[in-house]
Symmetry: D2
Subunit: 417 residues, 4 copies
Amino acid sequence: MIDMSTGVAQRDVLMEQFRKVRRDTELICAPLAIDDYQVQSITETSPPKWHIAHVTWFFEEFVLSHFNSSYKPFHPRYAYLFNSYYETVGSMQPRAKRGVLSRPTVEEIYTYRRYVDDHMQSLALNLDESQWNKFYQRVTLGLHHEQQHQELLFMDIKHNLSVNPLKPAYHEQRQMPFTPLAPMQWIERQGGVQSIGHQGDAFSFDNETPRHQVLLQDHQLASRLVTNGEYRDFIEDNGYQRPELWLADGWYLIQQQGWQQPLYWELQGDKWWQFTLAGMQKLELDEPVCHLSFYEADAYARWAGARLPTEPEIESMLTEQPIAGNFVNHEILHPLPGKGQWYGDVWEWTASAYSPYPGFQPLGGSMGEYNGKFMCNQMVLRGGCCVTPENHIRATYRNFYYPQDRWPFTGLRLARD
Amino acid sequence: MIDMSTGVAQRDVLMEQFRKVRRDTELICAPLAIDDYQVQSITETSPPKWHIAHVTWFFEEFVLSHFNSSYKPFHPRYAYLFNSYYETVGSMQPRAKRGVLSRPTVEEIYTYRRYVDDHMQSLALNLDESQWNKFYQRVTLGLHHEQQHQELLFMDIKHNLSVNPLKPAYHEQRQMPFTPLAPMQWIERQGGVQSIGHQGDAFSFDNETPRHQVLLQDHQLASRLVTNGEYRDFIEDNGYQRPELWLADGWYLIQQQGWQQPLYWELQGDKWWQFTLAGMQKLELDEPVCHLSFYEADAYARWAGARLPTEPEIESMLTEQPIAGNFVNHEILHPLPGKGQWYGDVWEWTASAYSPYPGFQPLGGSMGEYNGKFMCNQMVLRGGCCVTPENHIRATYRNFYYPQDRWPFTGLRLARD
Amino acid sequence: MIDMSTGVAQRDVLMEQFRKVRRDTELICAPLAIDDYQVQSITETSPPKWHIAHVTWFFEEFVLSHFNSSYKPFHPRYAYLFNSYYETVGSMQPRAKRGVLSRPTVEEIYTYRRYVDDHMQSLALNLDESQWNKFYQRVTLGLHHEQQHQELLFMDIKHNLSVNPLKPAYHEQRQMPFTPLAPMQWIERQGGVQSIGHQGDAFSFDNETPRHQVLLQDHQLASRLVTNGEYRDFIEDNGYQRPELWLADGWYLIQQQGWQQPLYWELQGDKWWQFTLAGMQKLELDEPVCHLSFYEADAYARWAGARLPTEPEIESMLTEQPIAGNFVNHEILHPLPGKGQWYGDVWEWTASAYSPYPGFQPLGGSMGEYNGKFMCNQMVLRGGCCVTPENHIRATYRNFYYPQDRWPFTGLRLARD
Amino acid sequence: MIDMSTGVAQRDVLMEQFRKVRRDTELICAPLAIDDYQVQSITETSPPKWHIAHVTWFFEEFVLSHFNSSYKPFHPRYAYLFNSYYETVGSMQPRAKRGVLSRPTVEEIYTYRRYVDDHMQSLALNLDESQWNKFYQRVTLGLHHEQQHQELLFMDIKHNLSVNPLKPAYHEQRQMPFTPLAPMQWIERQGGVQSIGHQGDAFSFDNETPRHQVLLQDHQLASRLVTNGEYRDFIEDNGYQRPELWLADGWYLIQQQGWQQPLYWELQGDKWWQFTLAGMQKLELDEPVCHLSFYEADAYARWAGARLPTEPEIESMLTEQPIAGNFVNHEILHPLPGKGQWYGDVWEWTASAYSPYPGFQPLGGSMGEYNGKFMCNQMVLRGGCCVTPENHIRATYRNFYYPQDRWPFTGLRLARD
């Protein structure tokens, strides 16, 4: 775990974490052919090589150049190539065109990683004590940033492989643990004034702050996630053909795109299959439904006579749960049947638009672009998923995607008044 | 005023209101040439002839056909042509293609209006007492619906004329009342648990319900709207060139569209002009800035070291204010300098995404499509504007537009923590 | 006929023709409601009001302003609004946005027409003899230009009405003359060196010149046009599903657009109907097939074991035929069964790309933009159609459209080696 | 040279040629990193790995499967992945999506090549004598097909590298041979009836047949290609700002795309540079201008008071010239100054639309899709270029591109009447 909660963190502890996170990223890419590193199947996904260069540039730009005025960047144009969206830092390769960059090669990018890792080690050893706290915070942010891209690597690799008619697998499917599906129950939750958001010295992103009071109504939360079997019932009840179940923008979208099922589902004869990181697999009905847009999650909930939980409702519950579940560390890379499922498995769509908390102040400087500027048009998701590192998630963690996004590991849990 | 607050409303009172609202709609169109009725300048706007037919169809579909089983619609295809977005009622002419319908002619549409008006009168007189309450509610909804389209008529006519290089005027500018600009002051507002939303027998839209408690933080509200002069300062301080001021989606949009000023502003030499319903006019610096997208309002607020108010913050204040201001009844059709400006002048963007209130239940049947299905991707605006009928607005009224929309009369007021 | 072949043409003869052509344009519009004048259903079509203003501007810009230095244009912005594509004259309203101009109104445009007509009369009377020849040529060009727009008026009105679900008729269908279908025969045509193109004093467009020699192979021409019945056989033989019959660009287009039949054909139950200027009518099998793209004409010919004729092949034959046929003067406004059909009925697609003749010199000045700059990406059509004025067509006349265009009255005749 | 003109071609001679052409393809790819094989920068270009698989599939589909009924394709889905446009053979990966296929990997594709090469060798040895002629023709077509893709490999690699901000070089620039620029002279050419097109047993594509008579006018041809220096004069004379010089579609295109110079030209300060296969290089004024669209070539010719030559004009001259010039064998991969330049250097745009010759019959079966279906919307180019294999070009060779295409090595020569 990236444990930065102690006030007397040691340099070697931090750099041990640094090496661990950096190594994890490369382990994710280990099964890839060089060819796989290059693909950008849709604008939303990025080539794996871009990810592993971008997270490296993050340390170069925001740590090495920041704390070491004599640092010489590895290559003068990499800032242009691997800047994602930091407008205040400079111009950048257009997002939709990341897939046309054959150079630098994968090999050169790994050399770039070594170069930056070495300079990071050296800087950590030689940094003046007066700068340590700031350095510690920046590096920690950089590591959480890299963990976010670890998630994206799995999501993007999955999509990139899925568009290939050969349907190649990223890994061999493991023996799945037997996890029987628990019946869904409604958990009563009392309303009232509660506090949500992050507080204290432990790491969080700026968008989780400030901790503040919210007023909850009494409500109920489902005891587990919605399953493939339940979602199949929705499909078979003509869920995709009934406009009264859909938000207007969602109805328009599914007409336009011809969506009739979740991303990665495929009907062969009368059997449903789904594409997974282990290739095409029979659809398991007890698994949580995954790769839904917000619109589909919302329509399902309406069909089920329920609704999606709000962000405070789910955070309130997450706070009471241990951080445990089907995370990337289990190496399943796929959601599993179970009960609770509060953390891991699938990112859960909430009914809450991604907005600033009352009194929200973004980080200063370019780091202020990290989260704050996306607080429009997106919806909050909570709880992490099966490709999230266990030490990356928290009860207060706010993830966010556009309502039409389906390529992340997204699913849902029901709520009702 | 459409006063339905009394429990013993009489049939002739209702039908008097009916005739008044219907007549108002036609008065708005009185200055138009037949040619003007036909134009759809962008997908978001509709031809005036479509508006006046659509509001008529609303009464035909949801009142006449509903309460009179032997009612014969004026024309069998008008339901297709003039249905706006009621998917549960049937298919419809695509929104972007409303401007290609030369038939029915304007003349035929006025005949249609007469036909429906006559049948409404007749139905109101002959309706069985047992149906009265339901009829009363439907007609009242239909009248508020028509008032919303009266606003849209002004907005759409303005846009339709604005794209014409001849810059034709809708009306002659009146002698403007002298309304000196008050200095902007910060009004302290206490937080705490408050109730917002509609309650009681008076008319409201379903999206204003249920009344519920919210928790407000302490905050400050500006004593008046942001002016053209203040917004010009933002422009001259390179507001449109500084990415750190903008939400990411807004920054992308202004690059793509080349926006450098509010809609309708035009720099001629070194003087700013703006297109109004009275044609091109010199920009008055003390008037409220108008025809901004949410992104521009939000960027301005950030530049000014402030933020947009939230929906509960502004409703809380509106509740304390008299419903008075520069409404359509004043026939100015343009925002005016002043103080307070809580109602009228411009619809004020809030920081709140348009979401269902806790416990929200849409109206049953097709009327459930009226508001609920738009609760995604849009932002709430409050307070009415200079083309809003005075008896149409309330403290609890929730208007909503997409963040990129600029053709409505949209402006802003600042808030801060 | 606009006969300008005599060297001693009189002023009153010319102006008599002027008045006739101008009046014909207005007669075409006589059945229109004001509403109909405004519609632009697709980018390729123009609102009728734009047509009647544009042809008027043509005389204003290229005759009145040219020959009368003190001429004051009717309105300073009309040159911008009604310039079609004369880049050397100045900037212009984008073509796709002609339909959003509600002003000037139809009434104002008729006033504009009167104004220009009066000035034309006056100029013709007072013009100095030395300028007569040049004036005569310009006016004659302007009249042929207006006749081209008369054709377009019919084509555009037809399309504009066709997109309306009410399927309104432009006129009442007349009693059709009985014209039995002749069996199709192959006419032997000898090859060899021949001359094509225009020569002499009579009017022609510049693209018909210079007359030059071409070398024809021996070939055969069909004795009549392809009929609806024959084209239906092509459809029923899965013509639209067989890629081997299609040019690559055509195959791509019909997939993308979902084309399965000619424009205006509609299958109701098991009966074919088609939209005509007299509204929806049963498909008459003996009539020439009409409203085909070049791709469809070409695919049909390939399916029939034949090909389209080349431009010289068809001109060679046209030269031998009398200029007679189903023209606009017959007021049928629809192609008719028959034999020969060399002129009138439908514009016949040829296999020839629209290219300059050897030695082609465009007219000088802005008039050089009339034809020459379109000599790329378009195909030649020959023979006129049922909405062509009889005195407008010639054996050497070269019409041209893009291969995907279907809204003109386009059809085909077979040829083979 | 691939000499198949002898009637007694031996099997080992053919297979020697086969091995040579196949090896040449791989040598072109030798300088590429694995990463470079994957890129598709625009829809028109293909990833190098797709090219080398596609040409292999061509032999598999049209030779191995055709002549050996027991042949087992290497992989059942490769026909889908690597079919380019043969609709009659089956469905295929959309062209615009060739760049998202990370699998098969480059390594697997080379294995595929070995597999097909081995089976080709084996088939050639064991083929029954009765099938030899047909086999010989198919293999020869396949080799010319592969040579066409060798050209495309250079063109596509150049474009794929050019979009990379790092501007990587494909190869090191060689010592350029000194080739002084000859002054341009007009060569008088007599008109009259001549024959063009292919005849005889030597290989040609079907689109070069049948040989037929054409009638030429007297004309003049420039003695060399237009140079960079001459084209720069056109730019400096505001060639890109003067609509009277442009075809309408070209003018529209350059406005829309913002084209102000040939593809690959870049102004740095006041110096012109250009991207080449050897990276960014100073623009050499004496070199032939290259990477022009047809529209630019046509506009330049008009500006120069000349025109583009027609296809028969240029073929007539090519027939009189030895097949010699700056071809791929010289390994310059860039056009050179010189005189004549009839073959090699740049493909020369002609004024002729790509149409079937009189009496043209495409090859039977799927091979009929090779050329014929593209005979619309494209223009003919002649003479080969600096990446053309010397033994691939002929006087009668008809190349064709869309008028907007600039990524091939395209240039121009002037002609006039």
